[in-house]
Symmetry: C2
Subunit: 285 residues, 2 copies
C-alpha cells in the first residue's frame, strides 16, 4: 500500500516509521510546506519521497493528514475534492474533532474520510522528534464511525492495529469534551505553572535546584509547541473553557481550605485526588 502523510511532525513522522517498518506501507510519500521538515524526514528515512499535495494524494491509496488542527480545516476539504469517488481513504490525527467533522459533513467525499485521534505524543515536535513505538499499547479514538464507508473504516482500523493501538469509538462532540478535560487542561495547567514560576523566580539556577520535588514532571508539557496548541485551544474553546472553569474551581477549594487551615477537608481532597492513580494503574495491569 502507498501512503501519503501530510504534515511530517512528531505524529506523522512516527506513524511513517512504524507503518513502513511493520510492512503496512510499501511506499511512503511525505508532504509538508516546511522544507526543512521534508529534508529531515528524508534523511531519517521516515519517508521514501517528498511530493506536492496534489501529486502525493494522486499516487497514494491512503492519505493521513497530521498537521495542526487549523491547517486541517483548510486541507481536508481540498483533499476530499481530490479523492471523491476514487476509492482512496483519508484520515486525520487531529486533537479536536467536532469543527472538522461539521465542515465536511455534506461533502460528497465524506464517506471516504475517517476521523481519528491517536492518544500519544511527547512534548517534542517536528520530524527529528519522531520515534518508533510511540503508539504501542496506546489508544486511538475513531469518531463518528457511522459516517465513514465501512471499507474506509476497516482500512484505518487495520492501520492502527499495525501500530499496536487499541481502538475506541466516540462521537465527535463527546470526544472533544473528554479531550478538553483529560488532555487540553493538562497542557494549560503546565503552561501556567511554567509562567508562574518564571515570573516569580528570576534566578534560573534556583528553579533548577528546586525542581527535584515533582516540578519537572508537572511542567514537562509546558514545552509543547504553540503551533499545535494555540489552534487546539482556540478551536475547542467551549469545552476547554468549561474544563478550565472546573479546574480553577478545584484550585479555589484548595485555596479556601489552605487559608482556613482546614486539615480535615484538605485530607479529604487529597485522598480523593489520590484515586486517579488507582484508575490508571488498574487499567495498565
Amino acid at each position: 500500500m502507498i501512503i501519503c502523510i501530510t504534515g511530517l511532525g512528531l505524529i506523522g513522522g512516527s506513524m511513517a516509521t512504524d507503518l513502513k517498518r511493520r510492512g503496512f506501507a510499501r511506499h511512503i510519500i511525505g508532504v509538508d510546506n516546511n522544507t526543512s521538515h521534508c529534508e529531515v524526514a528524508l534523511q531519517k528515512g521516515l519517508v521514501d519521497e517528498v511530493l506536492g499535495l496534489d501529486e502525493g494524494v494522486k499516487k497514494a491509496d491512503l492519505i493521513i493528514l497530521s498537521t495542526p488542527v487549523d491547517v486541517l480545516l483548510e486541507l481536508l476539504p481540498l483533499v476530499l475534492d481530490l479523492v471523491a469517488g476514487s476509492g482512496k481513504v483519508v484520515t486525520d490525527t487531529g486533537s479536536t474533532k467536532l469543527k472538522l467533522g461539521s465542515l465536511v459533513n455534506s461533502h460528497p467525499g465524506r464517506k471516504c474520510f475517517v476521523a481519528g485521534h491517536p492518544m500519544a505524543g511527547t512534548e517534542q515536535s517536528g520530524p527529528s522528534a519522531a520515534i518508533s513505538g510511540l503508539f504501542d499499547n496506546k489508544c486511538v479514538i475513531l469518531c463518528d464511525p457511522e459516517k465513514s464507508d465501512i471499507k474506509a473504516l476497516n482500512l484505518v482500523e487495520r492501520m492502527y492495529s499495525a501500530l499496536n493501538m487499541e481502538i475506541i469509538y466516540m462521537q465527535s462532540s463527546s470526544h472533544d469534551v473528554s479531550a478538553a478535560y483529560v488532555s487540553h487542561i493538562s497542557h494549560i495547567a503546565s503552561f501556567a505553572l511554567s509562567l508562574c514560576v518564571q515570573e516569580k523566580e528570576q534566578n534560573e539556577k534556583r528553579i533548577f535546584s528546586l525542581a527535584g520535588g515533582g516540578f519537572s514532571s508537572t511542567v514537562r508539557l509546558a514545552a509543547s509547541a504553540s503551533s499545535m496548541w494555540t489552534p487546539i485551544l482556540s478551536e475547542n474553546a467551549p469545552p476547554v473553557l468549561e474544563a478550565l472553569d472546573a479546574y480553577i474551581h478545584q484550585l479555589s477549594l484548595f485555596r479556601d481550605n489552605i487559608a482556613s487551615r482546614d486539615i480535615s477537608k484538605l485530607n479529604h481532597l487529597i485522598g480523593e485526588a489520590n484515586k486517579i492513580q488507582q484508575i490508571i494503574n488498574l487499567q495498565i495491569q
Copy 2:
C-alpha cells in the same frame, strides 16, 4: 558512625539504604511509630535495628528526622532536649523550614541542628517505596547555616556529599517561598487536575484511554500522600496562597484569551511557557 533515622518513609528509607551502602553509616537505627513501617524497613535491610526514640537518639551520633512536617514540630524540640551539649548532630528533611526554625531558635540545643531539605522524591510513600540512588545528582537546600555549629554543618554536608547531592544554602523564609512556587504548587496543580477529571468523567476506562496525551505525566503527583502534603500546605500557607493566586491568575489569562480566540496572545503565552524547558535542560547539561 551510628545514625538514627526517625520516620522510615520514602525519604528516610532511601537515605538509610545509600548511607549504609556507601559506608557513611556503620550502623543504622530506625525509629517509627508505625510498626508495619518498622517491619518493612527491617525486612528490606534499610535499618539494622528498630528502637524507641530515646534509646535511638542516645545510641546515635547523627539523628535524621524524616517525618511529615507536622510531626517535626513536636519531635525536634524533644530531640534537641535529649542531645543538647552532647556533641550529637540533628538534621531534618522537611519541605517547609520557617516555622520549624522559629520554634527552636532560642532552644539551647539549636546549634547542633542543621535544617535541610533534599529536593528529591517520588509520588510514592513508605519504606516499601525506598530506593537506592534517589538523591544522586539532585540538590539539597541547607537553611540558615549560620545558626548551626560549624562541626554540625560540616557533618551534614559530608552526609549529603555521600548521597551525591549538590548543596545550596538559603534562608528559611526564602526557601519556603521558592518551594511554594516550584514544588508545592506543582502538587496542588496535580491534585486539582485529578479531581476535575474524576468529577467530569465517571467512565474510568475512558479516562485511561484518553490519558496518552500528557495527562499521566501531569497527574503523577496527584498520588502523593495527604499525610505528607496536608501538613506542608497548611504550615507553609502564606507563600502557598501567594503562589496559588499567581497560578490562578496565569490560568485566567489563558481563559480570557481562549474565550476571545486571541491567537496572537495565546501564541505569546505558550512561547513564554516553553522557555522553562530551556532552563531545565540548560542546567542538566
